[in-house]
Symmetry: D2
Amino acid sequence: MKRLDETAAGVFIICVTPFKATGELDLTSAENMVEFYLARGATGLTLLGMMGEAPKLTVGESVAFVECVLARVAGRVPVVVGLPNAGLASMAELSTAVMAAGAAGVMVAPPSHLRSDAQIRGYFTQVAMAIGKDTPFVLQDFPLVTTVTISPQTLMQIIADNPNCVMLKHEDWPGLNKLSELRNAQASGAMRPISILVGNGGMFLPDELARGANGAMTGFAYPEMMAEVLAAWQAGAAERARDLFDAYLPLVRYEQQPGLGLAVRKHILALRGAIACATLRLPAPVLSAVDIADIEYLIERQARRLQALG
Amino acid sequence: MKRLDETAAGVFIICVTPFKATGELDLTSAENMVEFYLARGATGLTLLGMMGEAPKLTVGESVAFVECVLARVAGRVPVVVGLPNAGLASMAELSTAVMAAGAAGVMVAPPSHLRSDAQIRGYFTQVAMAIGKDTPFVLQDFPLVTTVTISPQTLMQIIADNPNCVMLKHEDWPGLNKLSELRNAQASGAMRPISILVGNGGMFLPDELARGANGAMTGFAYPEMMAEVLAAWQAGAAERARDLFDAYLPLVRYEQQPGLGLAVRKHILALRGAIACATLRLPAPVLSAVDIADIEYLIERQARRLQALG
Amino acid sequence: MKRLDETAAGVFIICVTPFKATGELDLTSAENMVEFYLARGATGLTLLGMMGEAPKLTVGESVAFVECVLARVAGRVPVVVGLPNAGLASMAELSTAVMAAGAAGVMVAPPSHLRSDAQIRGYFTQVAMAIGKDTPFVLQDFPLVTTVTISPQTLMQIIADNPNCVMLKHEDWPGLNKLSELRNAQASGAMRPISILVGNGGMFLPDELARGANGAMTGFAYPEMMAEVLAAWQAGAAERARDLFDAYLPLVRYEQQPGLGLAVRKHILALRGAIACATLRLPAPVLSAVDIADIEYLIERQARRLQALG
Amino acid sequence: MKRLDETAAGVFIICVTPFKATGELDLTSAENMVEFYLARGATGLTLLGMMGEAPKLTVGESVAFVECVLARVAGRVPVVVGLPNAGLASMAELSTAVMAAGAAGVMVAPPSHLRSDAQIRGYFTQVAMAIGKDTPFVLQDFPLVTTVTISPQTLMQIIADNPNCVMLKHEDWPGLNKLSELRNAQASGAMRPISILVGNGGMFLPDELARGANGAMTGFAYPEMMAEVLAAWQAGAAERARDLFDAYLPLVRYEQQPGLGLAVRKHILALRGAIACATLRLPAPVLSAVDIADIEYLIERQARRLQALG
């Protein structure tokens, strides 16, 4: 399998982890989900992300899920696998296993106890060595969840320190100026090129494309939104991209609620037939009847608005 | 002045604190801002909120600003004043001063060291006693900033404990089901009626109105959005309310970026002539040229879309 | 193996996890360490605790280490195994495995995102069900590390909810009055009896024994201190217990430094021959030459003072 | 009044703020307290520190308290005044007032939202400018309370950036190697000399003196402990210094409990006649009868041990 590199672009979907109503891992749905995502424009997949309920899987289940998806994808698109903050030994073990099975790279977020620049920089150096220089990795910069603030200067140092850091999953909030700063550093030669894909459910996708993002790595239940916005953008149709984005924005916003958002996403994916069942493993929030009514109403309005757009 | 009570509703604008380019308090702009807000549908004003740069004022400046606004409002709408988390003595002192000057009530958020339900409940009992039973207060529930999680049960206990707790500024995120739970408790008689106004820049305004919110208490730079959405909602025109909301949503989202959002808001308010100068007191984030271009583009798209709506 | 119950008392040592200089798990040292601890008065052992570098082991290593220790202990004392905050499925899987291998119970600390009483209570109910009602568990109450504050009332509810909660590892700080409150509740019949063992390296051991603790569960590198203090206490020789404690206190304090403390502990255990090598797995702090000189000086002073005590 | 500079050394006592049983500020006790501290070896005083209940005073009370103490001290020792994290305007206002009244310098701790090195460094630059280059300041490095981690490198940058940063109140935990690193930097010429006084109630005082601390700035209720340990140390009697320290350590440890510790300290100061009343302003923890019995027993043991030492 081709390894991930700094030319990666497009829409990497953060996959949910499908479960049966009993809570059992649902590998049939996993295969179906792969086809659903690919048919709607995904150019890559990311497994075991923070939003993918990875911490709720046993190690055996994690490996089974990754192998199932890799087999189904069969090399059509690159697959990135999130590593848990579980000590370097466990991270290296899982990394080696998934790379051997055909993953294109791994993803790492900083553990929440890191504070100073030196601590953060040191951590990524240790991780990069532990997974090995031939394993490309994505740095996930998501302070709302990790509580770790990484300055642009520290990001640049990490990228300089570790040639296998090839992509930034950019989801600082606010993060627009951080993105601009990195792109300016790259333009001036102060930083080697890396791929920057955006997260946060896509809440700032057009604004981030305007600042040089290469696409999105997030899990919004309508992957076609991201694919179409990106295509319009690349075709020079910025207004069209914004119109599409705005049509989806009320639902993007609804799905972006912390914690509850994954239940919203799975509910929609089940409605759309991507997975058989919207079940989350416990502990998990449960949608109320009013939430479900909200979602269905927002979907219906979204459909009308997209139709009006043509 | 009429004191705030549980019948309060409508749009209470969280006012910015205007400064001159030198950083000096700008009371001329404060007066102008009052007229700007009232002309666009504000039914109440809130001063010295977290987003209003209150901690950057000296005590003397805080009092001068409040007195200036109260004098200009001259009883046309109720004015709520935020109290700092600065010890009960300072809170009582400021509360007494502003109530004597004609404020309708005060607002209190929990300090960030509170954790258990008993600690939170105890804190509000102490505050309620310190400010006095004749001073109505708004409880601001904003965990993203305070880091304090208040369960619906604890909110109900605080409301039962303290008759002068007459309003909830609801900005938990996700918070829709908390809002429903409180309204259900009220409907079943388990909780006395209180006013619930929503925050978070209005990001969930129509969804929250649908669940029984009485209006908004937030500072989005287009108060008329909230007033018009609320009016449409109350007139039974839910689709119209949603259409209006959606037209403003891209900018609501842009202004809702933590930290940077206040700079966005002040920039727009200065553009709109509400205040003379967009200056924030240091320490504060500064908008980049690209941010300003973003804002102006979003304003222009918003105007086109509102025109299309009619 | 006899299961842990509320009569558990004495000194449960939080075992370190021994590594070779290469970072490889050192099972020979693990066996040696068991004998070291038992010979110095341990009446129980706890494996995979927060301070035991558990997160740095792979799942396979964790199981191998637990099995090695259980085989060596061969039923002489009860062994408790710490579960990671890794989702209910992984916790149940590890719990089942170690109980089958002969552990006496498991230990659970709350994950750091829990805030309200209801969230904390709900979490332990889910854990108690996931591990099964026949698996006794120790609740570790350690806010300095977990950031979760559990009120005495919530602790009592968790104990009432879950009959398999048989022990509290008490290391809130300050926590003396919480301990008294629980013992008073037990005396008045408001709470069923449970075992309370104290942590924090033993920093408050005599004060906690005076308030009704049943012993200690912590990992100070001189287990004999805890065993002797407890024996003196139980023999009614409170002054003698204090004198012994005070002789060790300068080193207890030095070993209780967050993060660095485990390196101090392993250094002493290696000096004392309990383990072959003081190595910590990366990422880990490293003792400076001055730290090592400090430790050796404190050990020497401690020996002199103990000799003077007789 | 002589301004604080990098030659400051000895024992700067963090003063409590005395209240009457009614909660009213007790300025008579404040004067008495000054004499108590000076008679027991204080070479400086620090007012309005985190432990001094500063946030519970109104601005007017803060100024009255500072002026009262300054008048009583009458230039006999330097007085440092802690500034609240209350915005630059308020900090500058209080700083100007207390320096005009005769303070020797001010003290600043980083607000808890700072994370990256650049944010921390930027903050102190802004503060240093706001208070003015002629106002010396003490940087309080106390991560347990502030949640802000400052690396040694960042400390050195702050010191280089701001000539008016003349002292470090060192209370990181663990912090011994940070202290060594700063002293090594100074010895090598990489950092200009500054005064380093230690905090944390003195829990590591002899170890810190051994690494080059210039004394202590903390509030342990027995100032003579710090004065005598320091005197013995400076006289080359390290063993004597340790013996003295160890005699006080059980009480140092008891007083060092977060939150509760200040109630312990005030209780002892009232017992010793330094202040009339041990009252803390609400919200505050209250000592239980068992706590008070603990304290009295520890004081009695301490007296016996000191007597034995001679």
